[in-house]
């Protein structure tokens, strides 16, 4: 009986371990700063799904002026809700993920983006985006007091 139990435990812990190994790799990540100036690839739609601890995400180009190089084939499914800094130059999609909760966000900085919609279906005037800085988006967001309370700063 005892033997059986420990055997069971062993198998269970092995299964648990394998799950950890497969899923846990991205859980530890807290900060990503990606210089995309020499890169060219598609981002998978669930890329950030398991990065629950991601605090800062900055995707930028140290060599600006070139065309966007990081693209999506499908819309991005999720962004971590723990994000404090979201800086994404040349963001190629028209909206942020539907279920992204910006409660903790301190800074949103998305120059040159194609954003038309923020989360929760908040529409953004295209003209505003053309000026590619967020200050105008901020003005827009102000009308939705719920969201504006989420922001302490919007740096542009």
């Amino acid at each position: 009986m005892l033997y059986n139990l420990s055997y069971k435990n062993l198998i269970l812990s092995m299964i648990y371990w394998t799950i950890l190994c497969f899923q846990g790799t991205t859980e530890d990540i807290e900060v990503i700063f990606l210089d995309m100036s020499n890169l060219k690839f598609f981002v998978k739609p669930d890329a950030f799904k398991s990065m629950h601890n991601l605090r800062f995400l900055k995707i930028y180009s140290s060599n600006p002026g070139k065309h966007q190089r990081i693209r999506f084939r499908e819309a991005l499914q999720s962004l971590p809700n723990e994000l404090r800094l979201l800086h994404w130059e040349d963001y190629p999609l028209q909206s942020l993920p539907q279920h992204f909760d910006p409660t903790h966000l301190v800074e949103l900085n998305m120059p040159y983006s194609k954003l038309q919609k923020l989360w929760g279906g908040t529409k953004v005037n295209k003209l505003d985006i053309c000026s590619y800085f967020c200050s105008i988006i901020f003005e827009y967001i102000k009308q939705f007091s719920v969201i504006s309370s989420c922001f302490r700063t919007l740096r542009c």
Partner: protein
């Protein structure tokens, strides 16, 4: 050359001093003069001075040099190297007996107050130093207490009258150190034709830190100046001695301070201080206290309202951030594109080989 007699004497003295201590005490004479000025400007009474600086910058060497220089003027003197360890190992009374025992037993009790010189090196806990110093009733007017620490807060709590921050070597001194270490010759005898550029670069990268310079000396002496900068930028693994001294500083931090230090080392060097503080506040790190703890421990500096850090400390910070796990993609902080790309890349498009076609279409 219109040298004043005073300056000439000063120069000769410095020259002689450096001849007597060829490699160990490079640049120390200059600092000792400053220290002397500060000390003698203080009022007659119990004088005290704190020597503060990052690990390896030469605090202990300076304290020793000052002890050698001043001790003749005092009736009794002692220097306790690595005070923290000694205190832990021997305890208060043993320390007293060992370092001042004879004086205590013989002359002190009989003759009352004396002029003392006491040097405590590498103090980490202000309470220990206080306990050691407060036990004396014999500090006569004109006594001098010198305390060195890598934490400014310790010096403040010890109640020293003034704090002297030790600066790094300048490029002349770096040259002297590198030549002295590498070839055992006096650099001044060599022709003055060669450029100072490589020494300037090495000072810039190691913040004039003599410990780092002497450890990197072998590598530096073989490098050509044009490739030096590129190579130094790629330095990822500092020598173990350096890691050791800096890690003792790092380990004294709490979790929030550690996170902030590593974030600054990896990403926020040169960013506006207010902006970084706001981000940290959003993370719940209490930066308005924490950042100043980092500043006091010589890990971060704020220059013109920007977050700055010595190169050497940044290299160590990055190494610490990466050393937790062996697997590259399990690092907490990622900045290397070759690690991030596989994490984010859509493998389907990669497998089908349609990446290029799709890419052009999208």
């Amino acid at each position: 050359m219109d040298y004043g007699a005073c300056e000439l004497v000063e120069d000769i003295a410095r020259d002689m001093y450096e001849k007597i201590f060829p490699t160990k005490r490079i640049g120390i004479y200059r600092k000792m003069l400053k220290l002397e000025k500060i000390v003698y400007k203080q009022l007659w009474g119990i004088r005290s001075i704190g020597i503060w600086g990052m690990p390896g910058i030469g605090k202990t060497t300076l304290a020793e040099a000052a002890f050698d220089q001043f001790s003749g003027d005092y009736e009794a003197s002692c220097i306790i190297k690595d005070f923290d360890k000694e205190f832990l190992a021997k305890g208060l009374y043993h320390l007293w007996n060992e370092y001042l025992g004879e004086n205590i037993n013989n002359s002190f009790i009989k003759s009352g107050q004396k002029r003392l010189l006491i040097v405590l090196d590498n103090v980490l806990k202000p309470l220990d130093a206080d306990a050691f110093l407060n036990g004396f009733d014999w500090f006569g007017p004109g006594s001098l207490i010198i305390i060195t620490s890598r934490d400014k807060q310790v010096l403040v709590q010890c109640g020293v009258n003034q704090i002297y921050e030790v600066e790094g070597l300048n490029k002349d001194e770096a040259k002297q150190l590198l030549h002295g270490c590498a070839f055992g010759i006096d650099w001044r005898k060599q022709s003055g034709l060669e450029t100072l550029a490589p020494y300037y670069i090495s000072v810039k990268y190691f913040s004039g830190n003599p410990l780092a310079l002497s450890l990197y000396e072998e590598m530096l002496s073989h490098m050509k100046s044009d490739k030096m900068e590129v190579k130094l930028l790629k330095l990822n693994h500092p020598p173990p001695q350096i890691m050791e001294v800096f890690k003792s500083n790092y380990n004294a931090l709490n979790e929030n301070e550690k996170s902030m230090f590593l974030d600054i080392a990896c990403f926020f060097r040169g960013e506006k201080a207010d902006y970084v503080m706001q981000l940290f506040e959003g993370c719940g790190f209490f930066p308005h206290v924490g950042i100043y703890v980092l500043v006091d421990k010589c890990l971060v500096t704020i220059v013109k309202r920007k977050m700055e850090m010595h190169n050497l400390i940044q290299i160590v910070g990055k190494a610490i951030s990466n050393e937790g796990t062996v697997e590259l993609d399990r690092h907490v902080r990622l900045w290397d594109t070759s690690i991030i790309q596989p994490l984010l890349e859509d493998e389907e498009t990669k497998l089908k080989g349609e990446s290029k076609v799709c890419y052009e279409k999208c």
